[in-house]
Symmetry: C3
Subunit: 140 residues, 3 copies
Amino acid sequence: MKSFRKTLTIHTRQTTAFVNVTREVQAAIDESGVREGLVLVNSMHITSSIFINDDESGLHHDFAKWLEELAPHDPSPTAYHHHQTGEDNADAHLKRQIMGREVVCAITAGKLDFGPWEQIFYGEFDGKRDKRVLIKIIGE
Amino acid sequence: MKSFRKTLTIHTRQTTAFVNVTREVQAAIDESGVREGLVLVNSMHITSSIFINDDESGLHHDFAKWLEELAPHDPSPTAYHHHQTGEDNADAHLKRQIMGREVVCAITAGKLDFGPWEQIFYGEFDGKRDKRVLIKIIGE
Amino acid sequence: MKSFRKTLTIHTRQTTAFVNVTREVQAAIDESGVREGLVLVNSMHITSSIFINDDESGLHHDFAKWLEELAPHDPSPTAYHHHQTGEDNADAHLKRQIMGREVVCAITAGKLDFGPWEQIFYGEFDGKRDKRVLIKIIGE
């Protein structure tokens, strides 16, 4: 069994942003030499997500609006109990639960084994600083 | 390390539907010969889900109603930015994020290592056409 | 390839509760002898979750309140179709979908390969009885 590890660093200019990392994940698979196996891709932070959906900017706009309705940003100290610690980003912790922390993808014949529209995204809900994404590959 | 890959094709008569695929996943494990390992089951589409919950039709009715409240279907061009591309299914992309893309399950002694009520479902939110589910197994 | 399996039993005094199981998962990795691989941690029940987020009690309070807004507990027979079976916990099945069933984590050099704030939680939405968590490790 082979294993391979790599991290990506992502820094978004906006608080909320979606970044396509599919190419970087495939590059890590290429580098690993794994032909058959699994790749785990996860955010190493708790206010951002890794998820798979469509690479369409209108849909990303819809995601952001919808998440804001489900878990509104409100930095006031009384909006969320979490803010009593001095934080102002409780909404980002909630949004990340909707979108998920990680994806696990199949590797078949050295490639991401994907349907026609599947693309891997980093979803940021508390951006403007360096964040890391972990790629871990196991297989043969 | 062994690896094994199989796809299922699912075509639902309704836009929203839940299909139990537990038997098909166990059959793939049997076919793979893997006794100890992991099985990844994921939708290869971005408007449907794989998830684990109860095989109870009343609960599935509750899921559909609840998802419709959280992310209403509205095919009008102005309801979602995604519809400016000509699509009318943005709600299905949102619903799939709530329910998830994939499950990873343990294989122990050749069987799905499940609690008493765990069953694997395909959740369709934009049906009436062929969709594929990927099963990828690794282990020994 | 090595594989290792262990279950934890969790019994919460409250209906809704969050229990940090990170130490138990690391202990299982230590016991397995796996240095490079993946660990799957999942609830074996369909009214509870495993998820990764912050170990901060204020945030956990926010999670509970938010989930109650998104999927309210209402034991009346007409509140949810699922209750026609005699059950009164449909809300717990819904809440678990938001928070997720499982996490898959990387093991690197024998340790959970985590960002600075990542902690693994068992999220209970229908407690006051014994529940089980499955830990399955594969690697080398």
